[in-house]
């Protein structure tokens, strides 16, 4: 069931259009990650839903009811702010208790409710502290507790891990999904970190320049990005992109990239003759036998350790740069200066229309591409 729906919502500040007629629907109990570069309008989206600002056009529906007429305090949303926005003159306890105090009095229900959520978030020992006496991590958990404690229908989390250190961010990334599941809230989670979006979101909405470039599951977005820009935003190191030309000759569909020819699935047949951009994720790059079809000769230009993987920057004989992050077996001949022959499985290759940037999907049945 759809809990929250945005229909053609437009928000402007002066002459700048921050959100340009965006539409979105969120299912009950779903966690939707709103991902996009800074300045894309993610926070504005949350502010509109919370009622902190109003759209110039469009409607925001909660369970079918238009929220425009509803004041923020009656919207049944909870929100954790990027800068925490704790009430500096109240203790952590009073901060967390604020949403409960707004509800019909339940006597000591407030204290019980606050304790419960505080224990869950492991801040029960600092409840008497003022916000300025809390560590960043504790502040963040207090803000989260305040957002959660009233069991809101919609939970808005505005990049809650942005201002905490790396270790804490890692822990919370593991802890948050369980926590959110326990509350059964519908969650909008804003983040600038694609890994966070993929780890936490049931679906991801990619917001770019005030519009949704793509809304889909993490798999869909990673494996079938709607545009070149989306493909570039997900993955580290970034996807390898080359200008290419699709050719179809007696049943074989290939892409010509410089001197090399890469085999493509037959479904790309209709793209033949069009200028395209070819994308290969660094982890899809494999070694192939020298001289085999679709092989590219390249030299290892640099080794860049990244977490548990080894990223290699290769330069093809055409002078194009190429990242790989596949394990080639350390101690092999793939050190700096080594010459490799590489390729990619046809089904791992993505094609984008060069002009529009949209992905060209292979048509498995008829061999006709659909944009």
């Amino acid at each position: 069931m759809t809990t929250l729906a945005l229909n053609n919502v437009t928000k402007r500040y002066g002459k700048d259009t921050i959100l340009d007629a965006v539409s979105l629907s969120i299912e009950d109990g779903e966690t939707l990650a709103i991902f996009g570069p800074s300045g894309a309008g993610k926070t504005v989206l949350l502010r509109l839903i919370a009622g902190m600002t109003e759209p110039e056009a469009g409607e925001i529906l909660m369970n079918g009811e238009d929220l425009i007429e509803v004041a923020p305090e009656h919207r049944s949303v909870g929100m954790a702010f990027q800068n925490f926005a704790l009430f500096p003159h109240m203790s952590a306890f009073e901060n967390i208790a604020a949403p409960l105090e707004a509800k019909p009095a339940k006597g000591d229900g407030i204290a019980v409710g606050v304790r419960k959520i505080a224990e869950l978030l492991k801040i029960d020992h600092v409840l008497n502290h003022a916000p300025r006496a809390l560590s960043n991590g504790q502040k963040q958990r207090t803000a989260l507790a305040r957002a959660l404690v009233g069991a809101p229908k919609i939970l808005l989390l505005d990049d809650p891990l942005r201002n905490v250190d790396a270790k804490l961010r890692f822990e919370m990334r593991l802890e948050l999904p369980r926590l959110l599941e326990g509350f059964g809230s519908t969650v909008l989670y804003v983040t600038q970190d694609y890994r966070e979006a993929m780890a936490l979101g049931d679906r991801i909405a990619v917001l770019m320049d005030g519009r949704f470039a793509q809304v889909g599951t993490p798999e869909e977005i990673y494996l079938a990005p709607a545009t070149i820009a989306v493909a570039e935003l997900f993955g580290d190191p970034v996807i390898n992109l080359f200008d290419a030309e699709v050719m179809a000759e007696d049943g074989h569909v290939t892409a010509r990239v410089g001197r090399a020819r890469l085999a493509l699935p037959a479904g790309f047949k209709a793209a033949a003759g069009r200028p395209v951009v070819l994308g290969i994720r660094p982890e899809s790059v494999v070694r192939s036998r020298a001289g085999s079809a679709g092989a590219i000769n390249a030299t290892v230009a640099a080794l860049l350790p990244l977490n548990d993987r080894m990223v290699r920057l290769l330069i093809t004989e055409d002078g194009q740069e190429f990242y790989t992050s596949r394990d080639f077996g350390e101690g092999s001949d793939a050190g700096e200066g080594a010459t490799l022959t590489i390729g990619a499985a046809p089904e791992d290759i993505m094609l984008f229309d060069k002009e529009s940037g949209h992905r060209i999907a292979p048509d498995a049945a008829a061999g006709r591409p659909i944009e």
Binding site: M52, A71, E73, R75, V77, A98, E101
Partner: protein, 285 residues
């Protein structure tokens, strides 16, 4: 700054001492005078050593002034009372009016907002007599002449712009997100204003209230023009008192001491806010 020779250090010390003497001596001397009898005051050369008397204060408080020509009744306590009433009520009224306005100017960009704010500020800079002189005629006509109500109303011109501009700065320093967070937590606009915005701006409100109290207390020309003896504050009263008491200098000094004590005490009490208040927040000390 680190390298200061002994000579420079001594010179600095002397200069600071001279400044302290110049600026504190008058207060010190008036306090001394207020504990002296007329005979002691008139003695030449003046002396720092004398047996202090409380006579000046008691005659001010009881309102009975003994002079060579008999007992004069004085109403200095009434002046003191007037000063308290006028200053306190003016500040209280200004707070009620200016704090919400300050919030509006800090939070909302609305049509004419800056114009209104500057109009209110400009009252502070215009020559007071320009308004006061025609006002005496109007006040006579509408029966506000020599009333507390009328005076408190006119005093708003002193206290209100000051409070408005100082408190506005404090409201601007509060992150709007903190207010949003409280509203999202389920509280109305009004409750957010009273539970979040006001408490967070409290230091500024206190500073503005103290400072505007001092300004109201020290005002002279408003009451000089608009009030008769029974409504006059100490600033006007003490001056009238000079002619009334003839040559009772000790009592004049005592009246001056009583009149300046409240503002000096408040200033010491609130000194950390003074700088910001005095410059309307232009310099954050």
């Amino acid at each position: 700054m680190q390298h200061m020779s002994t000579g420079e250090r001594v010179l600095r010390g002397i200069l600071i001492a001279l400044a302290l003497i110049f600026f504190l001596f008058p207060i010190f001397w008036i306090v001394l005078m207020s504990f002296q009898t007329n005979a002691q005051i008139l003695r030449i050369p003046p002396s720092l050593f004398f047996s202090p008397t409380l006579e000046n204060y008691t005659s001010l408080i009881t309102g009975q002034l003994k002079t060579a020509s008999g007992v004069l009744t004085l109403n200095f306590m009434q002046n003191l009372f007037n000063s308290f009433i006028l200053s306190t009520a003016s500040v209280a009224l200004s707070l009620v009016l200016a704090v919400p306005a300050a919030y509006a100017f800090a939070r909302y960009k609305f049509r004419f907002s800056e114009d209104i704010a500057f109009t209110l500020l400009s009252f502070k800079f215009a020559p007071p007599l320009l308004v006061l002189l025609p006002l005496t005629i109007y006040f006579q006509k509408i029966g506000l002449a020599n009333t507390y109500f009328g005076l408190i109303w006119v005093y708003q011109l002193i206290t209100l712009p000051l409070i408005l501009w100082i408190v506005r700065g404090y409201f601007e320093d509060i992150s709007p997100d903190i207010e949003h967070a409280y509203r999202i937590a389920g509280h109305s606009w009004a409750k957010t204003f009273f539970k979040i915005s006001i408490p967070l701006a409290r230091p500024g409100i206190a500073a503005a209230a103290l400072l505007s109290f001092i300004f109201a207390w020290n005002n002279f020309v408003f009451a000089l023009v608009l009030a008769s003896a029974d409504k006059q504050p100490v600033t006007v009263g003490a001056l009238a008192f000079v002619t009334a008491s003839g040559i009772q200098y000790g009592q004049i000094a005592a009246a001056a001491v009583i009149s300046i004590t409240p503002t000096l005490a408040l200033a010491l009490f609130a000194q950390r806010y003074l700088v910001e208040g005095l410059s309307l927040g232009a310099v954050k000390g």
